[in-house]
């Protein structure tokens, strides 16, 4: 009899154990941050993470609260108390059946409200863990303001003239929409096409790489990311913008964006065409992402080195279109994203280069004028697929492919004078080239979590291939007292393939520390075949010029492995470790049938330390050591004579250089007083650098040969700081930014060591004030100071001062009209080598009128460069050369434009 009871009792216990292991108890207490007072009757709500449905709610009693019998799920906990900032916490209930949240501190709203310059009772900023959230409704925005306009007003964020965003000191590399990529390779397409009134909130956080997010270790390699979350009613519907503009002198601009969202299904398309240099030009050229490039990568070893970008030089004409499709399937287990883009760019113009070349016994001054007419057409396709195979493993597949067709036409005239002013050399040449390039990458990444937290394994395979076939005609006439003529046909054929296999294993050592081991195998094969044929005048026969032709191959095999130790708590992050690699470096000169085998043993040490004073104040230090191996065009033993006065020659004996680099960073955002500050300093030393040996003869002909400089180091250093705060008097915002860049570079000129020291300093002050509905104005003033000294010509020190000021003003008038005006005044003083000052005033303004209730339609009259003073201007110093470059650029025009915004959202279900 008693046995039956015991058995029943046991069974009952077992059942209740099983039952209770599925239900949780959550306890915690709530206190005021500064006064440490317990908060009574605070509202605590538990909400499902997935759909925000309220699961349960309770009130605190004497500061303490409790939830019982909570079903296993992912929740958000929201604590609120009148006059305090809401507190949010994500809870993923996993193992422990009792979750003790400890004491939660709420911040007094009065502190936050005083700092945010808005009217009304909504608080614009929320801090949730490591994410900062901004509420668009709390900012002064025009009715059809875009997300870019919103970001310009948000504390801690800066948007420059091109739309590039910097948040809390770091450049934003990605802008996501609802957590997903949206035209990933051009974040300005999101910020310029989405309207701020469609946005629920904007989140800023550091997005970890796929591998880092998976393994759970903070490897410090984050990318500053902005996530735009759309309002619920804007998740389903379509919206877009069409802009048409026409100006005098043949200027025109047209763009259209169309987006159709239906919850997880997003389709977007854009098309543009303009000759004003505004949309879709320079940003697309830059490869910005380290998580597997989103735009195809090409080699730059063509007959002409132009990289297909506008860069502000010349008059551009650009047309492009693109489309994006993304969707989620299988309850979010499969996420797919595809996009295609096409761009046709034509740039035509002229530029003028003045150059001072420092030699041991003299210096030479040269002038050259170049007229160019270049065209670049590119196609790019991206696809990525992320599959959650099960709760512990993910597969990520990325494909990227592209094609470029490029042609360039250049007409040069150059003259070299000696220090007295005699012309010792003159050259005129015509250079026309064609290039056809292909590139493709495939990335496969498999990530698996093993049975313990932070015990993971990941395997990645990356395949890359690019080929380029380019050809050109060089017709050149040089006069040094004696004339010489060149009529050459050039062909470059270059291929590059890389196979990269990497696997990482991580193992948790203690609650805060992890060890990771990695193994990498890389095979990198490249081939550069250069051929030059001389064509005699009045003859169809072309003969191979052997001094200028060579077929070279380079094969590198890396076997690399390493260990890294990570320690991370809420306050401290520390990392130290190193990789070790054995490299087989095989050089093969196919023209001469000779081989050269080298072996390198490389070390890649790194260490990092970061300290979080609080959620919004961090200090970090980083050290990195790495080798740089010589590249195929530096090794190839062939003369490159595309500039017959400046020949370039490779050297097969090059060895690697080694760099040590350190950087320090500090960033803080004091929310209570709305003060933002950041500072950073970095320094790197390159030992045994791959530099050039220059020999210039008395006729001004220079030959540059690559070589390692032994027993000599190149140095680069830079520092910057930034401070932004509102001034106490009448809500004026104040910013101050300073930066310093410098380097000490060495090369050998006519057998003497040339040591070049360069320092640039810049300090800028800014003031701004806005009154909602009336005006928005600001002004910045900057001072620039440059010095340059070269050991070969110590008397020719270059020192110059420059100033730049940029006032801007927006006036909001009745009848929905806006006037905008901005001025950019730049002054650069003369130096020892350049005896003219440079100054220009750029004045741009427009007047705009909006129509309809939502300002859907706008008409705008723009005047660009009213004083017709725009001139391209650049001064830079490299090795033993000081160069000043002035070039054609777009000048004064006026333009009449019409912008129509449309949006239609389906009612929410």
């Amino acid at each position: 009899m008693p046995m039956k009871f015991y058995i029943l009792f046991l069974v009952f216990i077992c059942i209740s154990c099983v039952a209770s292991s599925q239900s949780f108890k959550i306890i915690g207490s709530v206190q005021d941050t500064s006064k440490k007072i317990k908060l009574n009757q605070a509202s605590i709500v538990l909400v499902n993470s997935k759909d925000s449905i309220i699961y349960a709610d309770t009130r605190s009693l004497n500061g303490v609260f409790m939830f019982q019998n909570v079903v296993k799920n992912d929740y958000h906990l929201i604590i609120s108390y009148p006059k305090y900032v809401d507190f949010f916490l994500s809870l993923n209930l996993e193992k422990d059946s009792l979750i003790n949240l400890g004491t939660i501190h709420l911040m007094d709203e009065a502190i936050l409200l005083n700092s945010v310059t808005i009217k009304g009772k909504r608080v614009g900023i929320k801090i949730r863990g490591d994410t900062t959230e901004y509420d668009p409704a709390a900012y002064n925005l025009r009715p059809n303001a875009t997300v870019e306009d919103l970001l310009k007003q948000v504390q801690g964020m800066q948007v420059d003239r091109n739309g590039n965003i910097t948040a809390q000191g770091k450049q934003v590399r990605r802008v996501l929409v609802d957590g997903e990529e949206f035209f990933g390779n051009d974040p300005t397409l999101v910020t310029k096409s989405l309207r701020a009134d469609m946005v629920e909130k904007v989140q800023v956080f550091d997005k970890k790489s796929d591998q880092s997010a998976f393994t759970g270790i903070n490897d410090g390699r984050d990318a500053k990311t902005v996530n735009v979350k759309l309002k619920r009613e804007n998740k389903s519907g379509n919206f877009g913008r069409v802009e048409l503009a026409v100006g005098n002198l043949g200027f025109y601009q047209g763009q259209g964006f169309y987006n159709r969202f239906h919850n997880d299904n997003k389709i977007a398309a854009y098309v543009f065409s303009n000759n004003t240099g505004n949309v879709g030009l320079s940003k697309r050229d830059r490869q910005q992402y380290s998580d597997g490039g989103v735009e195809a990568t090409y080699n730059a070893l063509d007959v002409d080195i132009w990289n297909g970008s506008y860069g502000g030089r010349g008059i551009p004409k650009s047309t492009g279109l693109g489309g994006q499709f993304s969707n989620k399937f299988n309850e979010g287990k499969v996420v797919m994203n595809m996009n295609y883009s096409y761009n046709n760019l034509n740039v035509l113009g002229s530029d003028f280069v003045e150059r001072q070349e420092n030699l041991p016994s003299a210096y030479l001054l040269s002038n050259s004028v170049r007229k160019f007419d270049n065209n670049d057409q590119k196609h790019n396709f991206n696809g990525d697929l992320k599959i959650l195979l099960d709760t512990s493993s993910t597969l990520v597949v990325k494909i990227n492919a592209g094609q470029i067709r490029r042609n360039t036409f250049n007409n040069f005239r150059a003259e070299i004078k000696d220090s007295i002013g005699n012309i010792i050399n003159s050259n005129s040449r015509l250079f026309e080239t064609f290039a056809n390039k292909y590139a493709g990458t495939a990335d496969l990444l498999y990530l698996k979590k093993l049975n313990k937290e932070r015990r993971t394994i990941s395997i990645g395979l990356n395949l890359f291939h690019t080929t380029s076939a380019s050809s050109g005609t060089l017709i050149s006439n040089t006069n040094t007292g004696v004339t010489s003529e060149l009529n050459q046909l050039k062909y470059n054929d270059d291929h590059s393939s890389i196979i990269n296999l990497k696997s990482t294993y991580t193992e948790p050592l203690t609650k805060s520390s992890t060890l990771s081991a990695n193994l990498i195998w890389i095979f990198n094969s490249s081939r550069l075949n250069r051929e030059t044929f001389d064509q005699a005048r009045n003859s169809q026969i072309s003969v191979l010029n052997e001094a200028l032709s060579n077929d070279y191959r380079l094969e590198q095999v890396f076997q690399r492995g390493g260990l890294n130790y990570y320690f991370s708590t809420k306050k401290v992050r520390f990392q130290a470790g190193s990789d070790f690699a054995y490299v087989n470096f095989d050089q093969n000169d196919r023209s001469k049938n000779s081989f050269l085998r080298k072996e390198f043993y490389n070390l890649y040490p790194s260490a990092e330390f970061a300290y979080n004073f609080s959620a919004m104040e961090t200090f970090s230090m980083k050290y990195n050591g790495y080798p740089t191996l010589p590249s195929i065009e530096q090794l190839q033993p062939v003369i490159n004579n595309t500039d017959p006065l400046n020949l370039i020659l490779g050297s097969i004996d090059l060895r690697q250089s080694f760099s040590n680099s350190i950087s320090l960073n500090y960033i803080a955002f004091k929310t209570a007083k709305d003060i933002f500050m950041s500072g950073n300093f970095s320094f790197s030393q390159i030992k045994n650098p791959i530099s050039v040996i220059v020999n210039t003869d008395s006729e001004g002909l220079s030959i540059y040969k690559y070589a390692n400089l032994n027993n000599v180091s190149n140095l680069r250093y830079s520092g910057s700081f930034s401070y932004a705060a509102p001034l106490k008097l009448s809500n004026i915002s104040f910013t101050i930014d300073g930066s310093m860049d410098g380097n000490r570079l060495n090369n050998i000129v006519n057998s003497k060591l040339s040591n070049n020291l360069l320092n640039m300093y810049k300090l800028t002050f800014g003031l701004g004030k806005a009154k909602k509905g009336l005006y928005n104005c600001g002004v910045s003033f900057g001072v620039i100071y440059n010095t340059n000294k070269n050991s070969l010509q110590p008397l020719l020190q270059n020192e110059s001062w420059g100033y730049q000021t940029r006032p801007n003003l927006d006036f909001y008038l009745p009848f929905k009209m806006t006037i905008h005006t901005e001025v950019d005044y730049l002054f650069q003083g003369k130096t020892t080598s350049f005896t003219n000052d440079f100054s220009r005033v750029l004045w741009n303004s427009y007047i705009q009128k909006d129509f309809f209730k939502n300002s859907d339609l706008s008409i705008k009259l723009t005047l660009n460069d009213a004083l017709n003073q725009n001139r391209g201007f650049e001064r830079y110093i490299t090795q033993n050369l000081v160069i000043q470059n002035t070039y054609d650029t777009i000048k004064r025009y006026f333009m009449f434009s019409c912008v129509w915004n449309f949006k239609k959202f389906n009612s929410v279900k």
Binding site: D32, K35, K36, I37, K38, L39, N40, Q41, S43, V45, V47, D51, S52, I53, I54, D57, R59, N62, G63, I78, S80, Y81, P82, K83, K121, R122, D135, E200, K201, R232, S907, V908
Partner: protein, 260 residues
């Protein structure tokens, strides 16, 4: 005790004196547990007339046009919600001021009595001219909390969206400064008092206009719930019988009004 021990104890004692009071005092914001809230209900009557009476001919059409000519588009009615942590009563502010029109027979002047402890409520509704009395457990609504906030009657309210009877979309604003989990009509269950309700598809809203402390004890006594006791399934029967007299469109409209 040695001198050192004495010193340690003194320091400890002093520390305790200073720490304890800080630890044990709680902060009590002025949370509201009882009082009276005046609500204003707004109905877009022209919309009802156009949707449900517009197609009819004859008398009804005439009535509709005449109504539109003599009345404002939005009909405003005042209600009182008198509550404490145990119970609440919701009823029209003044019977004499109630407008008599075509809506009077479609649960326009509900009286609702809620028992928070037992989680049940009783409602008196006038449907088709007959007073009915319902007695039900408080329905569990799945409220979706949004981040949106709004100020109503001087209180900061949060927005939650929900669905009633699987088809009626509700937007409600509640404040956690008033602790009982009640609201106008039969809308309740949010982590605080509901001060605003909107049914976008029904073109009807209730918003609190003012809060006054102090309860009127007489209210409950003077307003006992009357009417024929009925359950929801029995009500369905009543609607079935009305089928031949009114259009389906209108009938569904009236039926939806009985749901809140």
């Amino acid at each position: 005790m040695s001198l050192l021990e004495k010193k340690i104890y003194t320091v400890l004692a002093l520390l305790l004196i200073f720490i304890f009071p800080i630890n044990s005092s709680g902060q009590n914001q002025s949370f509201i547990e009882s009082g009276s809230i005046e609500f204003e209900r707004s109905e877009n009557v022209f919309f009802y007339l156009d949707s449900y009476y517009g197609t009819l001919e004859g008398d009804m059409k005439k009535y509709a046009d005449e109504y539109k000519n003599n009345n404002p588009k939005f009909k405003l009615t005042s209600f009182i919600l008198d509550f404490d942590t145990n119970e609440s009563i919701f009823l029209p502010k003044s019977n004499s001021e109630l407008k008599i029109d075509f809506l009077s027979q479609f649960s326009s002047e509900n009286k609702v009595l809620v028992d928070f402890k037992r989680q049940t409520y009783s409602a008196q509704k006038n449907i088709f001219g007959i007073k009915y009395r319902f007695n039900e457990p408080i329905k569990k609504i799945n409220w979706k909390l949004t981040g949106e906030t709004r100020e109503i009657a001087g209180f900061l309210c949060r927005r939650a969206n929900g669905l009633i009877a699987d088809s009626i979309y509700v937007v409600a604003f509640y404040t956690d400064q008033i602790t009982p989990k009640g609201g106008p009509e039969s809308f309740m269950g949010l982590p605080g008092m509901i001060l605003g309700v909107a049914l976008p598809n029904e073109h009807i809203t209730w918003f609190a206009k003012r809060y006054t402390p102090g309860r009127d004890r007489q209210l409950l006594i003077r307003n006992k719930l009357e009417g024929k006791a009925i359950t929801t399934s029995e009500l369905d029967e009543v609607f079935k019988n009305e089928r031949n007299r009114r259009t389906l469109n209108l009938l569904n409209f009236i039926k939806r009004r009985t749901l809140f």
